[in-house]
Amino acid sequence: MSGTAQMPGPIAGGLRASAVADLFERSHAADFALSEQEFARILGEIAAKSLPVGAAENDAVAFCRGLRLEDLVLARACAAGHERAWEIFLTRYRERLYDAARSITREDSSARELADSLYADLYGTETRDGRRASKLNYYAGRGSLEGWLRATLAQEYVNRYRRGKREVSLEEKTEAGVQFAAPDRPVEPASDPRLAQATDSVLAALAAEERFILASYHLDGRTLAEIARTLGVHESTVSRKLEKVVRAVRERIMDELLQRGMSRRQAEEALQTDVRDVAVDIRGRLAQKDAAGAFYRKGSD
C-alpha cells in the first residue's frame, strides 16, 4: 500500500498523503481489498461535488472526516462486486430495506416489488464499459447508508408508484370504493389579482423554515410530530412557530392589501376562511353515540 496517495479534486494543493492514509485506516477499506489510491479517488470525487473550488485543506479534511467512511467503503466495495462486502450488506440491510419499503408503501406486495427493484439497481443490472453500473456508486457517505437506502426507496416510490396510482383502473377504484369520489377542485383564480400578489409577496419574504412548516402542515397534512422530527426540534416548538407564522402571514397580507389600495373591510373579506375549507366531520357529527338514546322510550318518563 503506498503512502503517497493524494486526493484529487477541488482542494488547493490536494489533500496530504498522511491525511488520506489516516482516513483510509479509519474506513477499514483494506478489509475489502480497496486500494489507498482508489479510496483517495472516491474521496476526491465526493469532495468535488460538495466543496467549493479551492477549498482549504483543513476544511477538506474536516469534511472527509465527517463522512460515513465505513459505510462508504462498504457501498463502493459492493458496487465493485466484492463478495464479502455483499454478504455483509445483505446481512445488515436486506430485512431493513424490506421493512422500510413496507413502511413506505404500507402494503406487502408493493413493498417487495419496490425493494426488489432497488436491489436490482444496487446490484447493477445494466453494464457500462463492461462493468455493472451499481446505484451504490452514488452513495457519498454524507449520511448513513441505511438512511440513503431509505431515501432512495422513497424517491423511487414517489417517482414510480405515486404516478402509477394516478392511473389506476376503474375496477380498482370500484374495489376501493372511490369510483364516485369528486375530482380535485381546480384552483380558482383569485377574484382580485391584488390578493394573489400580496400573498406571493408575503410568502416570498418568509424564512425557509417558516415556509417549510407552513407547507408541511397545511399542504402535506403532516403532523406536528412528523415536522418536528424532520427538523430535529421539539413538537411544541413547531406548534409555537406554526401559530406564529399563520398569524404573521395573515397580518402581513392584510397590510399588503391595505397598501395596494384595498379598504380594511375588503381585505378582511378577502382573507375570510372559505367555508369549503372548513373540515367538518359530517359522518362523525351525524353518528349517534347511543343509538337508543335518540328514540323515545316508553315508560322512561
Binding site: 477499514h28 478489509d31 465527517g66 465505513e70 462498504l74 454478504e87 455483509i88 446481512t91 445488515r92 421493512d99 422500510a100 413502511s103 413506505i104 452514488y138 457519498a140 457517505g141 454524507r142 449520511g143 448513513s144 438512511g147 440513503w148 431509505r150 431515501a151 426507496l153 422513497a154 424517491q155 414517489v158 384552483v187 383569485a190 390578493l195 394573489a196 400573498t199 406571493d200 410568502l203 425557509a208 423554515e209 417549510f212 407552513l214 407547507a215 408541511s216 397545511h218 399542504l219 402535506d220 403532516r222 410530530a225 412528523e226 422530527r229 424532520t230 406554526l242 401559530e243 399563520v246 402571514v249 395573515r250 397580507i253 378577502a270 375570510q272 372559505d274 369549503r276 375549507d277 372548513v278
Partner: protein, 401 residues
C-alpha cells in the same frame, strides 16, 4: 391550530421549484442533521418549495412506531409498557395525581421516620444493657452507646446506615452480576468487576448462617457463642466479597458500631423486613435492567453503545476475526463471525470464551451470520453456507439441523 386563508394554501401549492432537486445523499444528511449550515439552509429552502422532496424526506424517515419498537426491543418489556403508555402519561390529570402521590409518600416517610426514631430512643437502654453483659466474654470493640437524643451528625450516620445494611445482608442472596445492574453503566461494570475476583465468594455455609434466625436474632441471648462475634465473622466474609467501594465504606470510622447497633436495636423483625426489602430490590433490579446496545461495525468488530446508539465503543474479543452477528440476553452476549468463530460472554462483555461448534460427525463450516438467542441457554446460529446449529445448553453441545 389556526387555519390559514385559502389563498395562502393555493399560492403555496403553486410556488415554482427552483434549482435541481437534492439527491438522496443530501436528503439523508438533512434528515440526519449532518449537513453544514449553508447546505442545510439550501436544502431547507428547496424543501419549503418542493412537495415531492418533502414527501421523500417524510417517507424516508423512520416511523415513530418503529423507533419506539426499536427502543422497546432493546430495553425490554418494562420500558415497552412505558412507551405504550406515553400518550396517557402526558395527561395533566396523571401529572397532578403523581404529584399528590409523591407528596403523600414523603409525608408517610417522614411519619415513619419519626416513629422509628421514637422506638430507637426507647430501645437504647436495652441495647446498652445487652452490650454491658456481652462485653466481658465477646469483647467486641466497644460500640458507641446510642444516646437517648442522637446528635445531628449521628442522625446523618443513621440515615446513611440503612442502604449499607441492606447491601450487606442481601449480597449473598443475589450473588452474581445481576446485583450491579440497577444503576446503569457504572453499577453494571462494578458488579461485573467484582464477579471474577469473588465469584460466589461466600461459602454456602456462611450464606446459610446469614439467613438463619440464629445468626440474625441478637435478642435471643444465646449462650452458645457471642452472636455479635458470629455476625462480625459473617460481615467480614461479606466485606471480602464486596467490591472495593463497599469494602471501603465498611471500614470507615463508625461503621462497626453502626452495624452492632442496627442488629441489636432492630432484632429479628427488622432483619426479616430488611431481607424482604432487599429481595424486592433485587427483583426490581433484575426487571429494571437496561443494558447497552450491541452491534457489529461495518469493519466486522463487535461494538457496544451505552447511550442508545449515539456513540459506540469497540469491544475487543479476538484478533483476526471478522464478526458478523451478535446476540444478547441480559448479560449473556454471543458473537459470531468469520470461519465459524463463536464467542460467549456470560458477564456483559467483560470476559469472553471461544465456543467450538461441532457435533460428533460434523463441524460448522462458513461464517456465522446470524445468532438467535431465546434465553441464556437456548441458541441457534446460521452460517453463510446455510447451516443451522442449535444448542440448548448454552453452547456445551450442538445439533446440526
Amino acid at each position: 391550530m389556526a387555519e390559514v386563508p385559502r389563498i395562502v394554501r393555493e399560492r403555496l401549492r403553486s410556488q415554482a421549484v427552483s434549482g435541481e432537486h437534492p439527491d438522496a445523499n443530501l436528503l439523508t444528511a438533512f434528515a440526519e442533521r449532518t449537513l453544514s449550515d449553508p447546505e442545510r439552509a439550501q436544502v431547507l429552502d428547496h424543501l419549503s418549495h418542493c412537495a415531492d422532496c418533502r414527501e421523500v424526506v417524510a417517507l424516508a424517515a423512520i416511523p415513530q412506531v418503529e423507533e419506539e419498537q426499536l427502543e422497546v426491543a432493546f430495553v425490554g418489556p418494562r420500558r415497552a409498557t412505558a412507551a405504550a403508555s406515553r400518550s396517557w402519561w402526558r395527561s395533566p390529570i396523571v401529572h397532578w395525581s403523581a404529584l399528590t402521590a409523591a407528596a403523600l409518600v414523603v409525608l408517610i416517610a417522614v411519619g415513619e421516620r419519626m416513629r422509628l426514631r421514637r422506638e430507637y430512643s426507647a430501645s437504647a437502654p436495652a441495647i446498652a444493657s445487652y452490650e454491658a453483659v456481652q462485653k466481658p466474654t465477646a469483647a467486641p470493640p466497644a460500640p458507641a452507646q446510642p444516646p437517648a437524643q442522637p446528635k445531628e451528625s449521628e442522625k446523618v450516620a443513621e440515615t446513611a446506615r440503612a442502604p449499607r445494611q441492606v447491601e450487606t445482608v442481601n449480597r449473598p442472596a443475589v450473588a452474581g452480576a445481576s446485583s450491579g445492574r440497577v444503576s446503569g453503566r457504572s453499577a453494571f461494570e462494578a458488579g461485573l468487576a467484582g464477579k471474577p475476583a469473588g465469584a460466589a465468594p461466600i461459602p454456602p455455609a456462611e450464606a446459610n448462617n446469614l439467613q438463619s434466625p440464629a445468626a440474625s436474632d441478637f435478642s435471643s441471648g444465646s449462650t452458645d457463642g457471642p452472636p455479635l462475634e458470629n455476625q462480625r465473622k459473617i460481615d467480614q466474609a461479606q466485606v471480602k466479597a464486596l467490591p472495593a467501594p463497599s469494602a471501603a465504606a465498611k471500614s470507615a470510622p463508625g461503621a462497626e458500631s453502626s452495624t452492632a447497633v442496627a442488629g441489636g436495636a432492630s432484632a429479628s423483625p427488622a432483619r426479616s423486613q430488611s431481607t424482604t426489602t432487599t429481595e424486592h430490590s433485587a427483583g426490581l433490579a433484575r426487571r429494571a435492567f437496561v443494558g447497552p446496545r450491541w452491534s457489529v461495525s461495518p469493519s466486522g468488530a463487535v461494538q457496544r453503545s451505552w447511550d442508545g446508539g449515539r456513540s459506540w465503543q469497540q469491544v475487543p474479543i479476538a484478533e483476526g476475526v471478522n464478526f458478523r452477528a451478535v446476540a444478547v440476553v441480559m448479560a449473556e452476549v454471543w458473537a459470531g463471525g468469520s470461519e465459524g468463530a463463536l464467542f460467549h460472554s456470560p458477564d456483559g462483555g467483560a470476559h469472553w470464551t471461544r465456543v467450538q461448534v461441532q457435533a460428533q460427525d460434523s463441524a460448522l463450516t462458513g461464517d456465522i451470520v446470524r445468532i438467535e438467542l431465546t434465553d441464556g441457554r437456548d441458541l441457534a446460529i446460521t452460517t453463510s453456507t446455510g447451516e443451522t446449529w442449535n444448542s440448548s445448553d448454552a453452547g456445551a453441545t450442538w445439533q446440526r439441523q
